[in-house]
């Protein structure tokens, strides 16, 4: 395929994705499918943001839900306290809070690596979870934050399910394009350098600590966007959004799909959400299926779905 043909194909897929609720309207399952797809895309954004750390910069984190949850609470609380449903305001609150959390947590963790980094991010995210769980006056505590209003943008009410979906799908496309172009820029190339050999990067004159911190903040901000979209979609934020389960979920998505790619985390989010939301109503052991799928990928296909696809493609092309 030529470059132009690829862009046209990609644009067609993008349009098809954003307009899904409309062209699927005749299906009996259209509404359910729209909801599932919406939640998949929210998590795809979240997994993409985590992959900036895990796949691109080589900083595996088990605390990414802190930023997702932080963003979700910030959007919800801002809309309730300020009595506004303006998307720019609540979304800005989410991004700001997530960025601040990522800055603070990032400062504490960027000098560690490997298992220590995993444990440290996990522990610090648990503190955010504990705050969400216990600061009842602000967060609603264990009951969560109910009645989050859906946003309006430029006077357009986005509360109907189809419009809410379009907001999520459009944001997903913007975020994907953003991360894609970020990762092929000198910035992304430098992150790859840090992942592959931080010592050499320092010897070349890169302040790798600052570079890693910046990646943490960028990833945190995008996770905050995903959190806000989750809050609008569900009209509800629970402490679990900032909890370890949510962190692990994103991590599993990245690994199943294929770390260090754009398509990988998206496919991973699709597979995991499909198992959790669709398969779970058909068979009672869906969580076990998810566990087995995960173990299978960890043992047999470290590069995830994208890696399997690449290997198959290479075999087809080889004589």
């Amino acid at each position: 395929m030529t470059r132009a043909a690829r862009w046209v194909a990609l644009a067609a897929v993008a349009v098809g994705l954003v307009t899904f609720p409309y062209w699927s309207a005749a299906w009996e399952t259209s509404r359910f499918a729209t909801t599932v797809l919406r939640d998949m895309l929210v998590f795809a954004i979240f997994a993409l943001s985590l992959d900036i750390l895990v796949g691109h910069a080589g900083m595996p984190s088990l605390g990414h839900a802190a930023f997702f949850g932080g963003g979700a609470y910030a959007a919800g609380i801002a809309s309730q306290r300020l009595g506004t449903d303006q998307l720019p305001i609540t979304l800005a609150a989410a991004v700001l809070v997530a960025a601040l959390l990522a800055l603070v947590i990032g400062l504490l963790v960027v000098r560690s690596e490997g298992i220590f980094l995993l444990m440290l991010t996990l522990a610090l995210a648990q503190i955010v979870f504990a705050i969400a769980f216990q600061w009842t006056a602000v967060t609603g505590g264990s009951n969560g934050l109910a009645g989050v209003s859906r946003p309006t943008l430029f006077g357009i009410d986005l509360s109907a399910p189809d419009r809410m979906y379009v907001l999520v799908a459009a944001t997903f496309l913007v975020v994907s394009l953003l991360i894609w172009s970020l990762m092929r820029s000198p910035y992304g190339r430098a992150l790859t350098g840090v992942r592959e050999n931080e010592r050499r990067m320092r010897a070349l004159g890169y302040d790798t600590t600052r570079l890693k911190l910046s990646a943490f903040v960028v990833a945190g901000m995008i996770a905050g966007v995903a959190g806000a979209l989750s809050a609008y979609s569900q009209r509800f934020v629970s402490p679990g959004d900032a909890g370890i389960g949510t962190s692990v979920q994103a991590f599993v998505m990245v690994l199943i799909g294929g770390a260090g790619t754009i398509l990988g985390p998206v496919l991973g989010a699709g597979v995991v959400m499909y198992i959790q939301r669709v398969l779970s109503s058909a068979i009672p052991v869906s969580e076990t299926v998810l566990g087995l799928v995960f173990i299978g990928f960890v043992l047999l296909a470290r590069q995830g779905i994208v890696g399997l696809g690449r290997a198959a493609y290479a075999r087809v092309r080889a004589p």
Binding site: T192, R199, R202
Partner: protein, 245 residues
């Protein structure tokens, strides 16, 4: 260009550097020789800031840099070829060098593909070290000798004022060694070079002066011919090198 005073570094009980004092002039080419474990690599690690010294100080072009971090020293013009190759294994030779070329402009350039000029500069350097035609090969599939050449290209891409070479020809074939020696010898005379090398032919070919390190101390310091005639140097080092060879 480089002044080192009373530099000390120990690991537990091992005194890898036991009071090293050394002055390397502007544009000078200085060889540091000594038996295995003499502290040569440790000296480089302290010079680049990868290891903090336990005592003493380091000056670069008159400025005290003992407390600067490695990336800050690199920005002041210090570049290094590692004894054990440090590259970006899955990246192509071109990307490896381009990362070094791009270090000056810094990493905070987003949303735009890296400029072609960086890759053109990288290709030119690869050609200079003898890797023309290997631009797209991943560093990890290069032969040992090629990786040493790539190391050198990466260091040169930083456009340094001071180049630290830690056994640049180690493990190379005689032909590769000759080629790299020629290349280093032909570098800009304004560039200050510190070279650690076991191959005496290379040392005598490249160095203006030689410092001999033994058990963390400089035991001799002089021009190439002075060092050749020094009895102690023969005892601790040259004699051994000959007997090993």
């Amino acid at each position: 260009m480089i002044e080192v005073r009373e530099l000390r570094r120990s690991f537990g009980g091992v005194k890898a550097l036991d009071g090293v004092t050394l002055t390397v002039g502007d544009g000078e080419r200085r060889a540091v020789i000594g038996p295995n474990g003499a502290g040569k690599t440790t000296l480089f690690n302290v010079l680049t800031g990868e290891l903090p010294p336990t005592g003493g100080d380091v000056r670069l072009a008159g400025a005290e840099i003992t407390r600067l971090r490695p990336w800050q020293r690199a920005r002041l013009g210090l570049a290094r070829v590692y004894q054990r190759t440090e590259l970006f294994a899955p990246l192509s030779a071109r990307e490896n060098v381009a990362l070094a070329v791009a270090a000056r402009a810094g990493p905070y350039r987003a949303f735009r593909a890296p400029p072609r000029s960086e890759y053109a500069a990288a290709d030119a350097l690869l050609e200079r070290v003898g890797l023309a035609g290997r631009e797209n090969a991943a560093a990890r599939i290069l032969s040992h000798g090629e990786r040493r050449q790539l190391e050198l290209a990466v260091a040169l891409a930083q456009r340094p004022r001071v180049l630290l070479l830690d056994e640049p020809t180690a493990g190379m074939s005689p032909a590769e060694t000759a080629r790299i020696t020629e290349l280093i010898s032909g570098l800009d005379r304004a560039l200050t070079i510190l070279i650690v090398e076991h191959d005496m032919d290379v040392v005598f070919r490249l160095a203006d002066r030689v410092s001999v390190l033994h058990e963390g101390r400089v035991i001799a310091d002089g021009t190439v011919s002075e060092i050749r005639g020094d009895v102690r140097v023969h005892d601790v080092y040259l004699g051994k090198a000959v007997s090993v060879a």
